[in-house]
Amino acid sequence: MDLKNLESLNFFGPELILTGTILLLIVLDLFVQNKRNLAVLAIVGCVASLLSTFDLYSAQQGWLFYRMVVLDNFSLFFKVVALLAAICTIWMSLGSHEIRRVYQGEYYTLLLTSALGVFFMASASNLLIAYLSLELVSLTSYVLTGFLPRNRRSSEAALKYLIYGGVASGTMIYGMSWIFGMTGSLEYAAIQQALAQGEMNNVALFMAFMFIFAGFGYKIVFVPFHMWSPDVYQGAPTPFSAFLSVASNAAGLAILIRFFFPGISRVTPGGEWALVSGVEWPQVLLYASMITMTVGNLCALNQRNLKRMLAYSGIAHAGYMLMGLAILTNDGLSAILFYIVVYLIMNVGAFLVVAMVANFTGSEDIDGYRGLAWRGAVVPAVCFTIFLFSLTGLPPFAGFIGKFLLFAAVLKEGGEFIVLALVAVANSVVSLYYYAKVVKVMFLDAPEPGDKEFVIACSHFTLLIPLAVLTVALGIYFSPLVLYTTQSLRFFVK
C-alpha cells in the first residue's frame, strides 16, 4: 500500500481526531470558564483517538502521504502508548495543585500536541518527518516544562531542556544530512536500498549514525545524552514529568527502532536483523546499555528529591530497554515493547504518588514521605510501594515480567551478552536500595510531631488504584500483553 495524500486520510483517523481536539481546545478555551471541562474534552478526544487507533488494526499495512509515514502495528502500538500516557497525565493533572495555577487550556492543547508528535515519531518513514515530529514533541515539551509561571525551577529547566534539545537535534540533522549526502534520499526505503548496494565509507556512516544517535538518544535519555533529564523532571510540573518519562522515552525508542531496524536494515531469512554493515551496533548499544543503567542507578542512590530520583531511575530503565536493542533480535524488541507498557503503568503510578504528596507538602523531598503510611495515607503508600518494587523488578509485579522478558531475550542470545545480563543483575540489586529507601521512609520511619495527616484528592485515587491493580495483575497474568506486544512487532517493510 502506497497512498497519496487524500487516500491516506482514510487511515489517518487517530491523528485527525487528535488534531481536531487540539483545535477545539484552543477555541473552547476562550469560552469555557470551568477549565476542568477542557480536561474532560481532552480525555474524550484521546479516547476517541484510541478507539480509532484500534480500528486501524484491521487495515492493510503500508505507506501513507507519499511514503512519509507508515501504517503498521508497530506505529499503532506507540499511538496507543502515547494516548494512554496522555490520558493518565491529564487525569493526574486534574487533581494537581500545580496545574490549577497555570493556563489549563493551553496546557492540555500542548499536551495533546506532544502526543500527536509521538504518533509521527513512531510512524515516520522519512528523515524529514522524523525531524519534524521530534521537534514537535521537543518544542511542546520545552514549553510545558517551563509552564509553571514565576517558578524558577520550571523556567530554568525549560531553558536547559531547550538548549540541550536544540544542540542534540542540530547534531542529529547534521548527521541526517550526511546520510542524505551518501544515499541521495530522505526516505528510509531508498536509503536502505542505497546502503545495501553502494560502497560506503564506513567511518562517515558511523559518524552520521552517531550524530543521529545523539538526537534519538536524548529522547530516550541514555548516557551520555541524559544530563538534561534530572533537572527537567525536577523542574517540570509533575504530571508532565510523568508524561515525559513515559511517552517521550517511548517515542525515542520508537523512532530509533523504526530508523535502524525496518528503516535501514534488512531482515535475514532467519528472522533476525542484519544491520548496516560496517557499523558496530551491537557493541555500541551494548556499552551504551551497560553504562546507562549503571550511571542511572548509581546517581539515583543518594537522591533526596523524588522526582530527580525517578529521573535517574528512568535513565536506568532506558538502559535496561537498550539491552533488548543491543541483541538485535525480535525477542529483544518485543521485550522492549512489553517493558514500555509496564513502565508506563508503574512510572505514571509512581509520579502520581509524587504528585499527590507534592500537593500536600509542596515539595518532592523525601522528608515529606516520612511515616506516610502512618499518616492516614496507607493506600498511596502501599501503591507507591507496589510501583517502586515493580520498578525494581520484583515479582509478582509487572516490572518483574518486563525485566524477565528482557533477560530472557538477552540470555537466549548468550555469548558476550551474558556480561550484559550480569551487569543488569548487579544494577537491579543496586536499584533496590534507593527504591526501598523510599519505602523505608514511608513505612519504617515514624512520623514526626510536625507531620500532618494526609488528605488525598479523589481524582487521584481513581487513577491510582487501577494502576496499582494493573501492576499486580500484569505481574501474575501477562499472556495477553505478551501476545499484543509480539503482534505489535509487525513492521511494514517494503
Binding site: L159, I163, F206, H226, N302
Partner: protein, 677 residues
C-alpha cells in the same frame, strides 16, 4: 548364630528409672509440695529397686541357658534404618551387661536410698531425684544398648546428667563451671568415640557387613584384618579413637581433669558417678569391644601405659589432699588407671572385675564420706575432723572395711581384683608395669589409711559447735553403708585367682570376653601376691605411723622447713629417716610436682584451651564483623562513592551537559577508527 531370645521385661530396667525421672521432673515440684519429700523418694527409689529385681531375673534367666546362648534381647523397634545402617532400639542382656546392670541398679539403688537421707534438707529435692533417676536410666541404656549408637545415647546421657548433677547447686558459679568442664571434656571424648564408631562401621561396611550391633560386629571383626586407613591399620585407628572416648568418660590422662572438679556435686552424686556408673563406662566399652582391641596391640600398649600413668599420678596426688572427697576422687582416677592397665594387658575380665569390686568399696567410701560430711555440717576438710569413730561407729566400721578393700588386704574384694590385674600384667610380660603398679598399690594403702586416721582417729579438731551436734547418720543412710561394706568384703570371692581355683567371674564372662591365657606358675603368682601385699602393708604402716601415732606431723611436710630432719631425729624416729627422704619426701615432691603439674599445666591446658578457643572465637567474631561484613559494607560504600562521583557531573551547568554529547560522539568515533576498522 542363634536367634536372640526376645525378652520383653528388659526394657523396663531402663524405662522405669526414666519414668521416675519424668514424673519427678515434670511434676516433682507439685508432688513435693503436696505429698512431701517422702513421696519423691519413693517415686525415685522404687524404679531402681524394681530394676534391680529385674536384673536379677535376667541373670537367673541367663544362667539357665547354655553359655553360648547366654543373651536376651528386647527389641522394641527399628530406630534408624538407612542404607546399610541399621540400628534398633534394642536392649541386650548378656553376661557382661548382666553384671553391669546388677552393679548399676544395685549400687545405684543403694545410693538412691542413701540420698533420700542425705539430701533431706535440700529444697530442690525433687529435681535432684529426677536427675538421679535420669542418670541411672542413661547408664542402663549405655550398658544395655544392643548397638554402638544406642550405647552412645547412654554415653552422652550420663555426660548430660553428670553435668546437671555436678552443677546441681548452680547458684555458685564454681559448681556450674565444674559441670561445664565435665560435660565439655566428655564431649571431647565423645568426639573420638563417634569417629571410632564411624570408622568401624564403614570398614565393616566395605566388607559388606555394615553393622553397629555388638554381636554382629564381633562376628565380622576378622574382616577388618588388613584394612588400612591413612597408612595405619583400621583397627588400630578405630580403637585409638574409641579409647579417646573411653579416656574422656573414665577420666584417664589427659582427660581426667574434670573428675576432681566434679566433686562439686552432692556426695551421693559423687558416689554414683565415680563408683558405680559413669566413669566405668569407658572400661565397659572396651570390654564390650574387646575383640577389636585385641586386634590392635599398639592400642593396647598405649592403653596400658596411660592406665599406669594415670594410676600413679593420681595416687601421688591423692597423698597430699586434705579434702575428704578429693582424696577419694583421685583414688578413683587411680583405680580407673588400674582397670585400664587390666585392659591394656588383655585382661578385660579382670578389668571388669575390678570395676565391680571397686564399685562396692568406692561407693561405700563415698557414702561414708558423705555421712561424715553430713554430720560435720558440710565440712570437707579432713584437718578439721578426727576422732569421729566414737560419734559414728557404723560409718567408721563400713569405712574401715572399704579402706581395707581398696588397700588390697587379702580376702577383701579389692585384693582379688587388683591382684588379678597385677598378675596379668606380669604374666603377660609387662614386669615394669607390674612393678610400678605395685608401688601405686602401696601409695593407695598409704593415702587411704591416712584418710581413715585423719577422719576417725585422734583428737577431734572440729569446733565446739560442730562437735556438739555430731551424730550417727539416720538409718536410710547407714543401711546402704552396711550393705556396701558387706559387698566390699565378700564380692571378691567370685573372682578367685587361678591359684585358688580360678575365677568364676571370668568364666561367666567368657561368652563375651575370650578368656586370656595365663602364663607362669602358681608359685610365681603367689609370690607376686605376697610382694603386693607387703607393699600395701608398708603403705598402711607408714600411714599408721604418721597419722595415728602422730610420729610424723603432717604439718611438717606441708612446710618443708630447714630444720625438718632434726626435728625428726628429735622425735626419735630413726628408721623412718630413710623413708622420709626416699619415699615420703620423694613421693611428696612428686606429689607436689604432679599436683602443680595438674594445676598449672594440665588444668591450664584445659582452661587454656578453653581460653584459647574463646580467644579464637573472639577474633573470629571480629573477623566476621569487620572483614566479612566489612567487605560487604565496603562494597556498598564503593557503590555510593561512585554514585556520588557520577552525580557530581550533574553540575546544573548546561555547558557541561553539552560536553556529554560531544565527548561521547568523539570518543565513539575514535574508538571506531582505532579498533573496529
Amino acid at each position: 548364630m542363634d536367634q536372640p531370645i526376645q525378652t520383653d521385661f528388659i526394657r523396663w530396667i531402663v524405662f522405669l528409672p526414666l519414668i521416675g525421672a519424668i514424673i519427678n521432673g515434670l511434676l516433682g515440684a507439685k508432688i513435693q509440695k503436696r505429698l512431701g519429700k517422702g513421696a519423691i523418694g519413693i517415686i525415685a527409689c522404687t524404679p531402681v529397686i524394681i530394676g534391680f529385681g529385674l536384673s536379677v531375673m535376667a541373670l537367673v534367666r541367663l544362667t539357665a541357658l547354655p553359655p553360648e546362648q547366654r543373651f536376651l534381647i528386647d527389641n522394641l523397634y527399628t530406630w534408624i534404618h538407612l542404607g546399610s545402617l541399621k540400628a534398633d532400639m534394642a536392649f541386650l542382656v548378656d553376661p557382661l551387661s548382666a553384671v553391669m546392670i546388677l552393679v548399676v541398679t544395685g549400687i545405684g539403688g543403694l545410693i538412691h536410698i542413701y540420698a533420700t537421707g542425705y539430701m533431706h534438707d535440700d529444697n530442690a529435692f525433687w529435681r535432684f531425684f529426677a536427675y538421679l533417676n535420669l542418670f541411672t536410666a542413661a547408664m542402663l541404656a549405655l550398658v544395655l544398648g544392643d548397638n554402638l549408637l544406642l550405647m552412645f545415647v547412654g554415653w552422652e546421657g550420663v555426660g548430660l546428667c553428670s553435668y546437671a548433677l555436678i552443677g546441681f547447686w548452680y547458684h555458685d558459679h564454681a559448681n556450674a563451671r565444674a559441670g561445664n568442664k565435665a560435660f565439655i571434656v566428655n564431649r571431647v571424648g565423645d568426639f573420638g568415640f563417634v569417629l571410632g564408631v564411624f570408622l568401624l562401621f564403614w570398614s565393616l561396611d566395605s566388607q559388606g557387613h555394615g553393622t553397629l550391633t555388638f554381636r554382629e560386629m564381633a562376628r565380622w571383626a576378622s574382616t577388618l584384618e588388613g584394612q588400612t586407613i591413612w597408612g595405619l591399620s583400621v583397627v588400630t585407628v578405630a580403637t585409638l579413637f574409641l579409647f579417646v572416648g573411653a579416656a574422656g568418660k573414665s577420666a584417664q590422662i589427659p582427660l581426667y581433669v574434670w573428675l576432681p572438679d566434679a566433686m562439686a556435686g552432692p556426695t551421693p552424686v559423687s558416689a554414683l558417678i565415680h563408683a558405680a556408673t559413669m566413669v566405668t563406662a569407658g572400661v565397659y566399652m572396651t570390654a564390650r569391644l574387646n575383640v577389636f582391641f585385641s586386634m590392635a596391640p599398639f592400642t593396647l600398649q598405649l592403653i596400658a601405659v596411660i592406665g599406669l600413668l594415670t594410676a600413679l599420678v593420681a595416687a601421688t596426688i591423692a597423698l597430699t589432699q586434705t579434702d575428704i572427697k578429693k582424696v577419694l576422687a583421685y583414688s578413683t582416677v587411680s583405680q580407673l588407671g588400674y582397670m585400664f592397665i587390666g585392659v591394656g594387658v588383655g585382661g578385660y575380665a579382670a578389668a571388669v572385675f575390678h570395676l565391680v569390686t571397686h564399685a562396692f568399696f568406692k561407693a561405700c567410701l563415698f557414702l561414708g564420706a558423705g555421712s561424715v560430711i553430713h554430720a560435720m555440717h558440710h565440712e570437707q576438710d579432713m584437718r578439721k575432723m578426727g576422732g569421729l569413730k566414737q560419734y559414728m561407729p557404723l560409718t567408721f566400721i563400713t569405712f574401715l572395711i572399704s579402706v581395707l578393700a581398696i588397700a588390697g588386704v587379702p580376702g577383701t574384694a579389692g585384693f582379688f581384683s587388683k591382684d588379678e590385674i597385677l598378675w596379668l600384667a606380669f604374666s603377660n610380660h609387662h614386669p615394669v608395669i607390674w612393678g610400678l603398679a605395685v608401688l601405686g598399690a602401696g601409695m593407695t594403702a598409704f593415702y587411704m589409711f591416712r584418710q581413715l586416721f585423719m577422719v576417725f582417729f585422734g583428737e577431734s579438731r572440729a569446733d565446739h559447735h560442730t562437735r556438739e551436734h555430731l551424730h550417727e547418720s539416720p538409718r536410710v543412710m547407714t543401711l546402704p553403708l552396711v550393705i556396701l561394706a558387706i559387698g566390699a568384703l565378700l564380692v571378691g570371692w567370685i573372682g578367685l585367682p587361678a591359684v585358688f581355683g580360678g575365677s568364676l567371674f571370668a568364666r561367666w564372662l567368657e561368652p563375651v570376653i575370650a578368656h586370656g591365657e595365663h602364663h607362669g606358675s602358681h608359685a610365681l603368682e603367689l609370690g607376686l601376691m605376697a610382694v603386693s601385699i607387703l607393699v600395701a602393708a608398708s603403705g598402711a604402716l607408714l600411714s599408721y605411723l604418721m597419722y595415728y601415732r602422730g610420729a610424723f606431723s603432717p604439718d611438717r611436710f606441708a612446710n618443708l622447713a630447714g630444720g625438718f630432719f632434726y626435728r625428726l631425729f628429735d622425735n626419735k624416729w630413726y628408721l623412718d629417716e630413710i623413708y622420709q627422704v626416699v619415699f615420703v619426701n620423694g613421693t611428696l615432691l612428686l606429689a607436689r610436682f604432679w599436683s602443680a603439674f595438674d594445676h598449672y599445666i594440665v588444668d591450664a591446658i584445659v582452661n587454656g584451651a578453653a581460653t584459647l578457643t574463646r580467644f579464637v572465637s573472639w577474633v573470629n567474631g571480629l573477623f566476621d564483623r569487620y572483614i566479612i561484613d566489612g567487605m560487604v559494607n565496603a562494597l556498598a560504600d564503593i557503590i555510593f562513592w561512585t554514585g556520588n562521583k557520577f552525580r557530581r557531573v550533574q553540575t546544573g551547568n548546561i555547558n557541561s551537559y553539552l560536553y556529554g554529547i560531544l565527548i561521547a560522539v568523539v570518543f565513539a568515533i575514535i574508538v571506531k577508527l582505532r579498533y573496529w576498522s
